[in-house]
Amino acid sequence: MQYMLLIYEDERIYGPDLESPAARERRAQHIAYSRELGATRLAGSGLKDSTAATTIRTAAGKQTLHDGPFAESREQLGGYYLIEAPDLDAAIAVAKKVPLSQNGAVEIRPLLVPG
């Protein structure tokens, strides 16, 4: 099966500077982690800050554009992996090792179309 791992963290810990110590450290961890995943990783990337997000909301069939992410919360969607795993337990084992700051979350979502 294919699973999407959605990574949520408070983006303020990295700040706007991509070369901040926190950002560099986490990036190095993700590179090492991706290498470790090998063929299990089908795709993945970090995302720019949620301040760069634009949301198209549709209400009663009418579309409106908004500056900012879909959901305002303490943690923001900051990156994702698309992985191949035989079952949920295997996906959980992969997701538990996703590099993360002290607080955050990884949501595991199976893809609708089986791979």
Binding site: M1, Y3, P86, L88, D89, A90, A91, I92, P114
Partner: protein, 408 residues
């Protein structure tokens, strides 16, 4: 055979057959539906010819064939649906009369109690699939409307199917987390049964199911201390059930129960499980909890003093491995007897009250301690808080009597 007797045959066979089908076809709904089909066919066939020698084997074979038929039908209906091609059914021979039903109940328990399944659905799903209880019975035990519980079961089964929950018994490294999820599920399920002191209410049969499921689990996992301990806890607690209510239907607290009314054989059974658990891991949290029950059940007559010092010492040990508000609250009860009411009150007041606000024993224990400390007004408030939460009549009557004694 009467329909009641048939119902009993169906229920006894249900867990094993549904588990075997679920693990073979990796589909909980298919397993349940096929078993229901087999039961319907049995009703018809057995009323003509009488039940076969091995009714369970007959049901298994029939359910298995129903499942294969359903899969074939689905495949013809969705010839081009790629996800159905994975069910390679042709290569598997159909079970014949001599095929034993494989015991896959452990697998099914781990599926139902997977941490990815909503906590409030795990116990219900286990009772439904592993114990074969009807949705109506489970709804009654959980004090829920039947449609609400049915919805919860549907959601849980959908989650299992769609998230790809594995039908394997987990790998050793996942074991502690997963086994704990299973045991907590049983604790919740048993807690429901145990709340009802009179045992005449809707929980009555359900406690018997808890005896059965803990027996199965201890048998399937003989080297796990906590599964044996869980089996012991349920037996010690059930053994005391006849003594938990007086002739007027009022709850009797543990220390005032007449040990002569306790069920000796169940206590003996519990001790055998506890002995095994103690050999494996004497300091595991549930083993210590079972030891606390054992200390109580060692009392022979009401004339013998309650074993408060021993209980307190065991709670001290338990606190070292499981420090939470509920353990501290229970420990405070023993503390009051050994070191006095003030020490116990200080301990209780140090607990953060908020998470325990909805916890009936917190208010009941606090009310009793306040009353004994002579702080009657505060005790009345605490009794009212407890009475606002109580759901069963034996406990209500007891609380009302305690409260009334205060105002006399």
């Amino acid at each position: 055979m009467t329909s009641a007797a048939l119902g009993l045959v169906f229920r006894e066979a249900s867990g094993r057959i549904v588990a075997a089908l679920a693990s073979r076809f990796r589909d909980l709904d298919l397993a349940e539906d096929s078993f229901a089909d087999a039961c319907a066919r049995a009703l018809e066939a057995w009323s003509r010819e009488g039940p076969p020698r091995d009714a369970a084997a007959w049901l298994y074979r029939t359910a298995y064939r129903c499942a294969v038929d359903t899969l074939r039908r689905r495949r013809t209906e969705h010839r081009f649906a790629p996800e159905l091609q994975r069910n390679a059914i042709e290569e598997q021979p159909l079970p014949d009369e001599w095929t034993p039903i494989p015991d896959e109940r452990l697998r099914l328990i781990f599926v139902c109690c997977h941490p990815a399944v909503a906590l409030d659905a795990r116990a219900a799903l286990t009772l439904r699939l592993v114990c074969g209880l009807a949705t109506r019975e489970i709804a009654r035990a959980f004090l829920l409307a039947e449609p609400t519980l049915a919805q919860r079961l549907i959601r849980a089964k959908r989650k299992i199917a769609e998230a790809g929950v594995s039908f394997e018994v987990p790998e050793p490294e996942a074991w502690p987390e997963r086994l704990d999820a299973v045991l907590s599920t049983i604790e919740i399920a048993y807690g429901r049964a145990h709340e009802d002191a009179a045992g005449s209410g809707p929980h009555f049969n359900y406690a018997a199911e808890m005896l059965e499921i803990t027996r199965v689990l201890a048998e399937l996992l003989p080297h796990e201390a906590e599964t044996a301990a869980m089996a012991a806890i349920v037996r010690f607690a059930e053994a005391r059930r006849p003594a938990r209510v007086d002739a007027h239907g009022i709850m009797i607290p543990l220390a005032d129960q007449d040990p002569a009314a306790w069920v000796g054989p169940l206590i003996a059974d519990a001790r055998r499980y506890l002995e095994r658990a103690v050999l494996l891991r004497p300091r595991a949290p549930r083993v210590l909890q079972a030891s606390i029950h054992a200390a109580w059940c060692a009392r022979r007559t009401l004339a013998e003093p309650p074993p408060w010092s021993e209980i307190l010492a065991l709670y001290d040990e338990l606190l070292r491995v499981r420090d939470d508000s509920i353990v501290r609250l229970n420990r405070a009860v023993a503390l009051a007897e050994v070191r006095g009411v003030d020490a116990a009150l200080a301990e209780i007041e140090s607990l953060a009250p908020r998470p325990l606000d909805d916890f009936l024993p917190y208010h009941a224990v606090r009310a009793d301690l306040l009353c004994r400390a002579g702080r009657c007004d505060e005790a009345l408030v605490a009794y009212d808080a407890a009475l606002a939460l109580v759901a069963t009549s034996a406990e209500r009557l007891w609380l009302e009597r305690q409260r009334a004694a205060l105002t006399e």
